[in-house]
Amino acid sequence: MRTPPPRFLRASGRSLLLVGALGVARAAPVPAPLDFGRDILPILSNNCFHCHGPDDAERKGKLRLDTHAGALGAGKSGLTAVVPGQTAASELIQRITSPHDDEVMPPRDAKEKLSAKQLALLTRWVEQGAPWGNFWAFEPPTRPAVPKIANPQSPIGNPIDAFVLARLAQENLAPSPAADRRTLIRRLSLDLTGLPPDLATVDAFVRDTRPDAYERLVDTLLDSPHFGERWGRHWLDLARFADSAGYLNDTLRPYAYLYRDWVIDAVNRDVPFDRFTVEQLAGDLLPNATLDQKIATGFHRNSLKNDEAGADLELDRSKAAVDRTATTGAVWLGLTVGCAECHTHKYDPLSHREFYQLYSFFNSTAERDVPAPRPDELADYQRKLATWEKERDRLEAPLRDHVATLVGPPSAAWEASLSRPAERWTVLTPDEITTITEDDERIGSPNPDHSFTTGARDPVRTRYVVKSPAEARAVTGLRLEALADLGGKAGRARSGDFHLAEFSAMLKTPDGAQHKLEFAHARADFETKSAPAKGTLDGDNTTGWSITGRTDATHVIVFELKSPRDFPAGSQLYVELEHRITGVLTRFRLATTTGALPLTPDPRPDELVAILDLPAALRTSDQALAVARHVARFFDEPGKKLLAPLATHYAKQPEFPKTAAPILVAHERKTRIHLRGEYQQPGDEVEPGTPAVLPPLQRRGPRADRLDLARWLVDPANPLTARVTVNHIWQHLFGRGLVATVDNFGLLGEPPSHPELFDYLATEFVRLGWSRKKLIRLLVTSATYRQSSVLRADLQERDPQNTLLARQSRQRLEAEVVRDVFLASSGLLNRRIGGPSIYPALPAFVLAFGRNKSWPETTGPEKYRRGLYIHLRRNVPYPMLATFDASDASLACLRRERSNSPLQALTLLNDPVFVECHETLGLQLAARPADTSVAARLAHAFALCLSRPPTAAEAAAMQRHFDDQLQLAQGDRKLAFVAAARLIMNLDEFITRE
């Protein structure tokens, strides 16, 4: 065993590099000391753990190799797998090297086979005493010393370069020279903003002789508001963001964009990644959570939802919680957490139970939509409201004068004619009201007066379940008020009617017992022959109560209990209102009474009844006016006349903006393990918790919640989050991650190519306060980033994947950015940031195959907005984006493919959006001053598109192309220039970041 001679290497680095570069000879590889976590564990996990790993159910021969004790102990055969230092006594070595088919491991029919190198490594490991250790990714990163490089081959921009150069020196490879300035500014602009630099900016940068010209450019681009769009879009891939719910109905999510806007804004404000995390996973649980922090929880509202009629709602809810669990694991921990949904993870230390402990955080979560009007909508609403109020006041004045005349004797006369209800009602104060339709189940909140306003578009077959605390002795009945506001109707049918099919109630006492309340009678203040009140209690949901002909007033129905019942303190009352035909109630409120039977259905508001209870002399003037107003409204002809225009006016009250943010809220639920991943097969109950292999979770209360989980993820003690995030960011700037398997930091993943650099960056990220911008600044100012991406002959052979970073990587642009460079280079781009998604024109046949066919085409300047604003409908992906490998938003997309296909060629050549770009640029060329030569025009377009002038050969080729096209176009110069633009915009370089 030789040790590496670093001194020698350093001294002779230069000559070795030259030899390596010429490919004539290469220095013999120096065996590095074995590192268990890096060298041995991945072999064991990949090849052995399936049968000899953490999963008890799959274990063969009673042997487990994922623990030290297991490896050193005896299996079922009695033989010992690993005897340190003795390969002959180690059954593991004997079996993996066995020539016999029935003995050899892994078995002959296994998918994996050990390579000669792996066999040698395992043998050497046993020889070296079989040292054990932990897997690198589960150990916290430690900050390594920055290597010192003598005679570096390229400038050391920052510590990144020291690590990279040290590694290259080991491999006898030289780094590549820096890219030229035009390439650099184009690369940097595309990487940081997703937009190409304009010509003037390129020229200014090329001429900028200040020593920190590059750093200044970096800062300018980091400050650009388009930075948030570019890096926000990267994040949206992880968030599986889309504008529809998927599955059969693919229901649109018209306000999903609020979350996209939040992301863009948070990235632009450089919200530190720890806060960025906490707000998205648990913004709703933060003390005094702001609307913005709640909108951030939209991250997990991007799960798919199956609202197909007849679908299993509980299954779908549980699948959404599984998705949220798996996505959280993939995005923050880089682990394939989802593998443990059905069984203990085959490779990583994550048990089936631990999966459901994580799941429990998301199981105890519900979905809400909260009003979130945009500032422009709000301003518009307030303007309309002010106008409306002014008109209301104008109409009110004569009424008010008239009402004043009714105070006193006229009211008293009316009052004298009244019979007064004996009972008094206590209004229920519900916590939540669940709206259940065939397609959906959602939870809503009551109004301040404890009434509930149903959804304007709730279908006729909707059930409302009201959950309310209740405490009273000897309750005799319940009352339901079907409220009609002035100018409004009591029901949502077009006629203003409703049909309450069934009314039922259940009392849950503090001991957990559930008692169905039995009603004897239902009585309404008004009913029709065909739809009487009693129909609500007969168990037949085709019969019920309606108010046909009297829809513009509040009506009341009372339900008498068969016998009085106590509601002990701490009880919950659940009342269910089932609708079936005609329409649902518009707004309703519930109350209980202990009054004597029979109960009176009295539509007069409680407030009025309370005033009537007072002797006239004791009433305030406001109370007296309230009584007079009631008289004017219902019992006084002149009053009714004055009220009529007011009622019409109330019907025209401006609506509050509908924009509502999809967010998460806490909703306690018990979690049981789903045996084999099936929710209908519940196993043990589990509490929220995190995997034992990672540092312990700190919880604020008796039961951990999402906020605890989020804070645990971004605790610097967590070995994964900073590493995983640094890797995501690195990948976008260098083409691949330092851990190439960006989606897997587990045992089946690849080890980091530069472990010390990786840990340096992970610790540095935390030290920089989790600042995305500062980390990116560090990365892009390195000499490593600035290298040329030319594929050197030696690298093509030695390192085609560019693992060693001896050059930059040349990358095709992402789908959205392909669109952006077209629009930007032709001058069509609309740079407005944020807001609702756009619908660029689509051929009808693309939409025709889906069930959701509406596509309100965007016109005018809006249609030239950036690719990230295109409406993403899961079942009908926008063809151009799909063709260029955009994420399909079904799962978190941690790494996009970069395919290269004929359909891409057809898209760039003939997609109407791009054709318009060719034309626009071509016509600009044709319209340049008459004395401009064709060559100059072509060179101008070339520079506009590629940020560099053409070479002589390129210029000549373009000229030949132009001449030929001019001839083919029979002298149509405009068409020939469009053809030239079409040529340049179809070059590989145009859609590539070099």
Partner: protein, 492 residues
């Protein structure tokens, strides 16, 4: 990782053999060999054109009748059904059953007006709605014992077409194109032909490539005009100008390649050439003038469609011609090198009006489907072309009494037992596999799960379904997840 390395060294070998720089011959060679567009970044394992064993099938035409056609009205004769008409099912058979719509407490068995007759030498019993398919009975293998896990359309379709009820997995066609890895011809490898009718609930998920590179995705062809999106040049651009443009792009790209030496540029050049070839191949494909009148009549391309009272609620009307043309187009595609064709029609989801809408759908589909099998056979193409006709599940023996519905005129979704058939591509025709109980409720013999069907299909293409994998998010995914057995009974 292992395979990626050998892949890149293969490409490297080709590069060297061809002299390196951006030659068109090189890109052509790469294209034909299926090496184009392999992901340059780390990720899944690409196995271009490498099978695990001798393939029996080279092509697949997959006719997908969306919605769940009724097996007891088409494929699985159940005389007992009419005797039990109007009776309830025993509680034991309903326990643990879940339905999309029907109320199981009050549902009653519904008989069928259909009559069944024996066909072919094998004596396969088929419904009076399928006379033409009856005429190919000796070529098809009818499976009466299919079963699935899903009773809603989208999850059912996802399972049937992607092997998983969860969105985001590659479709079966994508797995096949990935495994076959040929490409480089004049038409896409995987083409989807749709007869829209009511619309396909799962949208493009049934032919999408999921986490596989997008080039393995099915390409939806339009039924008229230019079949592929963006196939037509902008107005004013003649074919000659387009050709000159493609040449110019190649020329300038080659110059850039000489500078930066990125092999992706070669792929780009080849992709443009292929796109250009596709521009002339696709219109040729769509042009039926070369087909004989006999062939057109066989498929019934110009049939007149009978009127249906109240219109066809689900399958749509006016589609007789389109469906027939799509079946013919499937053969023409396979002839021209496309390996995977999916012919889709929606819908067969007969919750109501089953006795008017189902016959109409059958009248549309029966003749062209049978014609396709006959035509393939005549031309000697059936041997290596696997034809499948199926859906995501079957229908209930119980009539659907969905609350609020006025009359019981249809059947609900039924995952426990359903029928489909296969032909060609090494499948043993003239046989019926599997049996169900007296009311086609449960499978009583030779159950075949969707995963088993997938395993068998891959097997016919020379793939071991446990070994055709792609690594994504740290896991080796396969079409059959962790399930599936090749059903030897189906094979010749």
């Amino acid at each position: 990782m292992h395979d990626s390395v050998s892949f890149s060294s293969r490409r490297k070998f080709l590069m060297q053999a061809c002299g390196g720089v951006g030659g068109l011959a090189l890109s052509h060679l790469l294209g034909q060999d299926g090496l184009l567009a392999a992901p340059a970044s780390a990720g899944g394992v690409v196995r271009p054109g490498r099978t695990h064993h001798q393939a029996r099938a080279k092509n697949i035409i997959y006719i997908y009748l969306e919605g769940g056609p009724s097996q007891m009205d088409l494929y699985d004769p159940k005389p007992v059904l009419n005797q039990l008409d109007g009776q309830a099912l025993p509680e034991s058979m309903l326990k643990n059953m879940r339905f999309a719509f029907l109320a199981k407490e009050s549902a009653r068995i519904m008989g069928t007006p259909r009559t069944f007759k024996k066909h072919g030498q094998c004596g396969m019993e088929l419904s009076d709605l399928l006379p033409h398919i009856g005429s190919i009975a000796d070529d098809i293998c009818l499976v009466r014992s299919m079963h699935t896990d899903q009773f809603n359309h989208v999850p059912g379709q996802l399972l049937m077409n992607t092997g998983s009820a969860i969105s985001g997995r590659p479709s079966m066609g994508s797995w096949l194109s990935y495994g076959l890895g040929s490409g480089g011809k004049n038409l896409p490898e995987f083409v989807v032909l749709i007869c829209v009718g009511r619309g396909v609930p799962g949208g493009s998920a049934s032919w999408a490539s999921g986490f596989l590179p997008s080039k393995y995705s099915g390409v939806m062809f339009r039924n008229e005009g230019a079949p592929v999106l963006n196939l037509d040049n902008p107005s004013g651009f003649t074919a000659a100008m387009q050709g000159r443009n493609i040449r110019g792009v190649a020329e300038l790209n080659a110059l850039r390649h000489a500078e930066v030496r990125d092999p992706e540029i070669d792929s780009r050049i080849a992709a443009y050439e292929l796109a250009f070839r596709m521009q002339s191949a696709a219109p040729e494909l769509m042009d039926l003038s070369g087909e004989s009148q006999a062939t057109l009549d066989l498929y019934g391309v110009n049939r007149t469609e009978p009127k249906i009272e109240g219109g066809n609620q689900l399958g749509g009307t006016g589609l007789f011609g389109t469906f027939a043309r799509n079946c013919l187009m499937a053969r023409r595609l396979v002839e021209r090198g496309t390996r995977v064709v999916q012919v889709i029609h929606a819908s067969w989801d007969h919750h109501s009006r089953i006795n008017t809408d189902l016959p109409h759908n059958c009248l549309m589909a029966d003749q062209p489907i049978a014609a396709l099998v006959k035509d393939l056979k005549q031309r000697g193409m059936l041997e290596d072309t696997l034809v499948i006709c199926g859906s995501e599940f079957g229908r209930t023996a119980l009539g659907e009494n969905r609350p609020g519905q006025r009359a019981v005129t249809g059947r609900d979704h039924h995952p426990n037992a359903f029928s489909l058939w296969l032909a060609g591509g090494g499948i043993k025709g003239g046989q019926v596999v599997g049996e169900t109980d007296d009311i086609a409720w449960n499978v009583t013999k030779d159950p075949i799960h969707v995963h088993d069907l997938h395993a068998t299909i891959l097997h016919q293409f020379g793939f071991d379904h446990t070994k055709l994998t792609y690594r994504f998010q740290g896991r080796d995914y396969r079409l059959t997840d962790v399930h599936g057995h090749v059903v030897k009974k189906l094979l010749a």
